[in-house]
Subunit: 336 residues, 2 copies
Amino acid sequence: MLGKRHRVAVVGATGLVGEELCEIILARGHGFPDCFGRPRETQVCGRTVAIESMSPEVLAGYDVAFFCAPASIARELAPEVARHGVTVIDQSSAFRMDPKIPLVIPEVNPHHIHGKLIANPNCSTILLLLALAPLHREFGCTHVNVCTYQAISGAGKTAMGELIESTRGELEGSPQPAVSLHEEAAFNVWSHDSQIDVGNGYNVEEIKMIRESEKILEDPPRVTATCVRVPVLRTHCEAVSVTLGKPTAEARLREVLCNSPGVEIMDDRGANRFPTARKGVGHDGVLVGRIRPDLSEEMDASEGEQPRQYHFFLAGDQIRKGAALNAVQIADLMLS
Amino acid sequence: MLGKRHRVAVVGATGLVGEELCEIILARGHGFPDCFGRPRETQVCGRTVAIESMSPEVLAGYDVAFFCAPASIARELAPEVARHGVTVIDQSSAFRMDPKIPLVIPEVNPHHIHGKLIANPNCSTILLLLALAPLHREFGCTHVNVCTYQAISGAGKTAMGELIESTRGELEGSPQPAVSLHEEAAFNVWSHDSQIDVGNGYNVEEIKMIRESEKILEDPPRVTATCVRVPVLRTHCEAVSVTLGKPTAEARLREVLCNSPGVEIMDDRGANRFPTARKGVGHDGVLVGRIRPDLSEEMDASEGEQPRQYHFFLAGDQIRKGAALNAVQIADLMLS
């Protein structure tokens, strides 16, 4: 477990994920981690921090290095730092699909950890698999269809500011054109702004969810995704439809989800109380609700037949469990 | 076609749909329709209008009566007004599932029209079926899974004001508790606030989409839905997954959608330009884009196999084509 005795470096501490990482480490009673990036004095977690210039040699002096930097920087530095024996966890997409590098969600595939360099999955993948992996392990899912309701935080601090300014402009009658985002953000819903493959029509975010799920799960189900941005600050929601490998009673499915680490059931039909974007903020796991069998399935309940198709809805903090906390939890495992 | 010579009554003109109806009628060069409801002078479409008290006898003097009132009022008055020979189109849920009353989308099932009383479908159903019905007619869809991104307008004027005030409060650091909505609206995503069936876990909005689609389509596919609210003012978006009855080339599917009345294709992969909530405002039909085959389907493209599963994304003005315009178009057909 990452503890006070470990020397911790954060590369890219000024971004949303880097800052959340520093906060998680501080909240554990650890001293402020050393921060690396473009050398300057700046604010991180409300205090003035000296960002130091980085090199593999400098980073070699640490026990753990969290990379919260662009993929290009991770590609250049992370493997070399790991070769110096440092535990390196990379938030970027640089190594996620590299067959030699483990892609890890501690609640899902801790046994994949080997070596010193570990990739942190995409936020939407982490949140999906927290709920999906236990179902897959128990019931062998065959097909998964997920539609996302993704927060702006995934596009970074500037984009979050843009949502706020766009909304303020709209309320004051002076609409703002889109700047860093692909569309005007205020009161809008739009297809995820990641690059789209003109050939197959899928965007990078969707492909990440599909391919990363395949890498992380054993004998993976066929996953498909529609990734959509909503005007929300920092929680992703996902509507998930899953086909199980075997007919299963709803109570049994609920039991499995209830007992899954990182899953918090919020499914009060009587009170119409379910996961929402706002409720997901700051949670360490995912909130899961709206759990129900597919009504359209041809099935004779009077014959005791059980459904194979279920739907549920989840909400998870994209910056926390979707990124920073997952990385700290990987470090916990590696340093144990 | 509804023309200047027709005497038009609007019951419930002060609501969002009633007002939009009056605007559509005015834009056609028709005089201001006579408005009925709680008697008073009030503002409709920016002008002072005398709302008159209604009775079947008074409404019997009209050619058309649009009911934009609660289901209880429609149940009490609409059948009797229709018996007087008036063309009655009802926006409420009162008669939608009545097997004797046609439920009509003019582009989809105009041949269902008979009698003098017609029910207008739920907004999400109309928008879905504009795109789905032509695919179903051509390829015989077997399964449909839809996840909605629904605007606040569906909950009425007060709710729209609540979203604006909630957002303003959030930006000014004084969050507002939910009043008419089920959850705090600002920067949030939540399960549709309609009543939920504690037995099966589906909310009323989802059941409407499922049952109304079954009523409107011939030999209907099995439809399932997850209905979700997003902080958007007046456009619903829907992510639709459809299984066709026969393998179909993407080009052929696009051709069918392109030639479907009420469908406007907005699907520019190169420019990442797709339907959004904001772009849907004021459109007479639905914008459809993100059309793509399911990547997860097991299929040997090299053998010339074609996909059976497709996804697309749509945006449509919930108040306009989702309600008011559809009703006027029904009247057009009935008065032709």
